[in-house]
Amino acid sequence: MNRLHVAIEHKKLANGLHVVVAPDSTAPVVTVGVYYKIGFRLEPRGRSGFAHLFEHMMFQGSANAPKMQHIKLINSSGGVLNGSTSYDVTNYYEAVPSNALERVLWLEADRMRALKVDDENLNNQRDVVKEEVRVNVMNEPYGGFPWLDMPPVAFRNWANAHNFYGDFADLDAAHLGDVQAFFKTYYVPNNAVLLILGDVKPAEGLALAEKYFASILAGAPPVFADPSEPEQTEERRGHVEEQFGTLPAMAIGYLLPKRRTADWCAMALLDQALHGGRAGRLYRELVLEEQIAVEADGGIDDLFGYNGPTQMTSRIMHKPEHSSEAALAAFDAVIHQVQEKGISADELEQLKVKWRSDYYATLEAGRGNYMPKYGLMHLLACFTLFDNEPQLVNTILDGFLAVTPQQVHSVAKKYLRNEKRAIVFRTPAKTNVKEAA
């Protein structure tokens, strides 16, 4: 077996900023990321959607790079940039020809040091974010299904259960004071990691990180709200109306074991047994064999990138001539089979080969052709911020490759239980569909 090893240098600056450098001179390009350990899960109450709105504000100007300059300076250096907000982290990243490395670091340091935005910027981005929500959710068939539909059904703690894209009333209520407070609380160097990947020498990367970031003052360590959930003891169900599409859909989510445990590794492979593309049991049984469903996919979203309660979520769109009861029964039959019989040694072996292959693909790219090493950046950031151990990127695979058929069988029985799941039915307004009770 040809194992991949990623060379990594890791250092923590005096102000608490983690720096991770992963050199690779294959191509004259470098990927830079800054991850802050705050996502939409722990955004302020009464300010749903704020972590994401704030992410937009980080492109609106900093002390020495006013509005539009950030984007202009990256694009005109031959690079691309973006940011994204997820459950427990928010990231900002650039891929540029390596001769622009110093410029990118200067820009990231400038906005970590001092965001400089005003009401006009906030109003502008509030409008932009509303159009983002309209294009991705409100005006899109099955928009937000199930990532926005599931949390309020599955969870009881506001942190996990609220609308992560934001209710428009909450977006409207956000003001400049919120922006400044959020920045001051969470966007401190001691709550972040800087990643430099690609065409850079390790010593040079660390020296440049020192040069641009070391003088940024540390802040008070952020205090995080408790995201834990009260124990779930009953199946939960919810209904959402679908405005555009004509197929009935449902999502079934099961709570996941704690990350980086043996159960978690086994669950990840069970997830692949169920959701691994067209060979996965759900697609095979529901789409290819029974032909009740048109789509059956889903699984664990961003396995390495969450740091709080989460689910493995199956997503099924079925033919309208079958009731949702019948579709759910077909789904349950797949679950019962794996609970009764587990999976064979041969199936597990296939899953492990595919797992390894997918893992390499993640490290190399992970987000299209033009963001090299996005996946490696994401894993290094999460392993640093959550585990203080970026080297996990070279060892985490071992845990998955060591999983036994018995462990998979055992987690199927332990976690795929009705009282640990939640179901959302997304029902078309336009067709008459028989609903499950």
Partner: protein
């Protein structure tokens, strides 16, 4: 633009000297059966990416049925003389591989990636799919039903409805106007028609195999000769179609989406093929207009006015034609305001030469982003594939950056004047008729359609 002057950044570090950009050497070969092969090494991960494409797509058989080549590509993976559908999927997983098969307007392809240690079994499966697909009746009927649901779903998506209408408006009677089938057309597909397309298109003389990844090219070439050598078949007859009339005068096509909370704007005009001598110059013009985050369009209607989340423009190449389009999903009350800005920025490009510094920014962007593709196997594959599919010169990649940098403000002005005339743009709006009709009518003669394409 924004309501206040743009400020500049202070103290920005200069760029270091550019590092040389070297595209990996391509090993080219042609098997005795006519199959062309292009190989390139990239050792980023112990994997490889590949594509077996054929120089025939949906346009070639549009007179038989729209989307027929795509349906053929879809059913292709569901069985061979040796393997069932289920077996194919499990065998792919067993060797850690991914595979998909599609057809576009001008090509059909099987795309794949997998671990280098299992290169031969993956190539063997690809060969089997290209050569011995069995088109089982039951799999065909299942895929047909899925396609019907997919086609129904598409007709509820504003972005789909607008691009479908624009293709019809720009290409009229040409096969490029028929990008997707209707439900009725899918219901009328016949298995024998798929088999005929398969026999005609999927031949070594019509094919090109591209591989990029962690392998030794000469060893790989031996494997390829072994796996693909016995395959036979001739090149299909190629057809050329009469050029579509170029729509003159600006008109507005409204696709009614009841209840839409936003309007999808898509405006466009015919443009050029990728082989056209103006291609790169028009590409730079587009980049500066709406092809990058830092473009005039994005800075105006997103960063300045907040009308939309992701406005963009592009030049889409097809083998025999091409088209320019600009799109933005905007809130319903600013449809007219957004169109005004979209055309203002086009007209400005036709009236005033762009400042040299702004042109340099766009040139740097295109040149730099081009080199990002070097860093991944898939990035390399897509560039090699572009060169091969559009039959571009061998040194296209090596000379691209210099040609981008050679474009002058005068040439850019000429491009805008030649191709981007707002008086002849065709405007498609997918949205709720009651909310946008009066705004739409301000921009030209208005025709309204429902989602099925019927005139209202």
């Amino acid at each position: 633009m924004a309501s206040r002057p743009v400020e500049v950044a202070v103290g920005v570090p200069a760029l270091a000297p550019e590092r040389e950009v070297t595209w990996p050497k391509r090993t080219k070969a042609k098997l005795a059966n006519g199959l062309e092969v292009i190989l390139a090494e990239s050792h980023t991960v112990p994997k490889f990416h590949g594509e077996l494409f054929f120089r025939s797509g949906n346009a070639m058989v549009a007179d038989r049925a729209p989307g027929l080549a795509e349906m053929t590509a879809t059913v292709l993976r569901s069985g061979t003389q040796k393997r069932s559908s289920r077996r194919i999927e499990e065998d792919l997983r067993r060797i850690g591989a991914d595979l998909s098969s599609h057809a576009g307007s001008d090509t059909s392809d099987i795309s794949f990636s997998g671990l280098s240690e299992f290169a031969e079994p993956l190539l063997d499966l690809v060969q089997e799919l290209a050569r011995e697909a069995s088109f089982p009746e039951a799999e065909f009927e299942r895929e047909r039903r899925q396609k019907l649901e997919e086609v129904k779903l598409q007709r509820t998506q504003a972005s789909f409805l607008s691009s479908e209408r624009l293709r019809k408006v720009l290409f009229g009677a040409h096969p490029y106007a028929q990008a997707t089938p209707t439900e009725t057309q899918v219901a009328a597909y016949k298995l024998d028609d798929l088999k005929t397309v398969y026999r005609e298109f999927y031949t070594p003389q019509n094919g090109l195999l591209l591989l990029v990844g962690d392998f030794e090219p000469h060893e790989m070439l031996k494997t390829i000769a072994k796996v693909f050598g016995a395959w036979g078949g001739r090149k299909p007859e190629t057809k050329t179609f009469p050029s579509p009339a170029n729509p003159r005068g600006r008109r507005v096509y409204l696709v009614h989406v009841p209840g839409a909370v936003q309007t999808q704007i898509l405006a466009g005009c015919q443009a050029i093929t990728r082989k056209h001598p103006d291609w790169i110059k028009l590409g730079v013009t587009n980049c500066l207009y709406g092809g990058a985050f830092n473009s005039r369009l994005v800075m105006n209607i997103r960063e300045g006015k907040g009308y939309t989340y992701s406005p963009r423009s592009s030049v889409t190449p097809l083998r025999q034609h091409g088209f320019f389009s600009v799109s933005a999903a905007v809130r319903n009350d600013v449809v007219a305001a957004s169109l005004t800005e979209i055309f203002y920025e086009l007209d400005k490009l036709r009236s005033l030469p762009v400042p040299a510094a702004e042109l340099a920014d766009a040139q740097n962007y295109l040149s730099g982003v081009f080199s990002l593709g070097l860093a991944t196997q898939d990035g390399l594959l897509s560039q090699f594939s572009t060169v091969a599919q559009y039959e571009l010169p061998d040194d296209y990649l090596e000379t691209y950056r210099a040609r981008v940098r050679a474009v002058t403000p005068e040439e850019l002005l000429a491009m805008a004047r030649k191709y981007l005339d707002s008086a002849n743009m065709q405007i498609v709006l997918a949205g709720d008729r009651a909310q946008i009709e009066s705004q739409a009518a301000l921009f030209g003669e208005l025709e309204t359609f429902d989602a099925q394409g019927n005139r209202l």
